[in-house]
Symmetry: C2
Subunit: 230 residues, 2 copies
DNA sequence: AATATTATGTGTATAATATACACAGAATAA
DNA sequence: TTATTCTGTGTATATTATACACATAATATT
């Protein structure tokens, strides 16, 4: 069966672009940090409508030439000046009326950063950038409370399965600091000896033979093992 | 500080639509079924370019008035005639060149269906719809091999955490059938007695006091407990 | 109809893992 | 110098996971 060039082209276009509905895509990012022995989330105050003066997860448009992951990195770089941030995809949200004015599909990520290393700065359409305790998240704009809850759940799940504390601790840290971090993320207390046993037998940490000063007991500092094949 | 109506409107529009990049969004679905004691995945053969004659995951455009989840249901309804399918979001994919002609962001889902209950039918731009063993997935169009692998991994993970076999078994089934299903999904063999012990103490199944005929031993049929509060 | 075959259904012993728990030593604070 | 607070360590117990064998029921075979 032969078809004309026009017909072929038509079919191709139709296939590529059937009914051609296009939609705005944004990325939002739950940025977690560990500060004052507490798990924090970075929220920005929106300075324009809609949801003016609401706290929100930082986010932005997906760029034409960038993947979502790259777009998230761009947002993070803008807010904190860092690249190389550990980030994980959480979920995609597509409720038709999640944005009151036009349809916007968003993909949520979470990222882990060290607050002390990366002072945050207000950006476009944002009047304030503040670390909030994850236990006291205010009412957020759009559906961002849902995103925040989902992101935290994903972080917890990943923490239980792997050993992901990426950017959340300084390069050298004590087991106590690591335990505090775990307890903050999981929101439960852990037995000190059992935690130590479990973590050490994972064989992912190396003792640095340095001791942390200024704290009683003189605890040993550990760092993350670089090459697991050694 | 006062601003003109025009300025306000301008700000609003800019905010809502900053640089206004829109993008085509599709949904793709790894449909799993359990047939001939094997976990199967439903693939469609594409009849148009690009990737003409390649096997693919079934999918389609996200509809203007529908969420992604609803769009997936629409695809599934078109292929199998059923609604009420258990589906889970897997991941969103946004590589800039994942589609050779234009940019398309896709969100992958998986769904669980009973093949015997739902004969599948070819649809637009599709010349064939066939159940394939998950162990013999051919080369797929676009990046669908990646989606398929991710979907199967997600299914396995969910199976280990919950008890999700949704549409994969008939209403009444024997423990053997359930175990075969688990073994197919997890791709490992399980001890019969230990499996039985574990599943039964989850307290999610109820014995029907019926026996399956045509099979030696006369095994009891179970169904899923409807209301866990009873 | 009798017999062989194949699948079901059941419990226990052992191994592996998770949990609970107390005291001596080191650094800081008083 | 002494008190305080944190670190570092091992074991006993409970819980959970794993390995494993035989009697019974239904079908298949002769």
């Amino acid at each position: 069966m032969k078809v004309s060039k026009e017909k072929q082209l038509d079919t191709l276009i139709t296939t590529v672009n059937p009914s051609s509905y296009e939609c705005t895509i944004t990325v939002d990012c739950a940025i977690f940090g560990f500060q004052d022995n507490e798990l924090k989330i970075l929220l920005v105050k929106r300075s324009v409508e809609p949801f003016k003066d609401y706290w929100m997860l930082p986010g932005g448009m997906m760029d034409e030439g960038l993947t979502m992951e790259e777009s998230v990195r761009k947002v993070l770089y803008g807010l904190t000046g860092i690249h190389d941030v550990h980030q994980e995809q959480v979920k995609c949200y597509s409720d038709v009326s999640r944005h009151p004015i036009k349809r916007v599909v968003t993909v949520c990520f979470y990222a882990l950063v060290k607050p002390e290393n990366h002072p945050v700065i207000a950006k476009n359409y944002v009047s304030d950038v503040v670390w909030h305790s994850v236990n006291e998240i205010p009412q957020l704009g759009f559906d961002h409370n849902i995103l925040a809850v989902d992101a935290l759940a994903k972080l917890r799940q990943n923490l239980k399965e792997n050993l992901i504390f990426g950017e959340l601790l300084p390069e050298k840290f004590t087991l106590k600091e690591l335990q505090d971090l775990y307890e903050s993320i999981l929101d439960e207390t852990l037995d000190r000896r059992n935690f130590r046993k479990k973590i050490l037998q994972m064989d992912l940490l190396v003792p640095t033979k340095e001791k942390k000063v200024g704290v009683k007991g003189g605890p040993e500092l550990y760092s993350i093992k670089i090459n697991n094949t050694t």
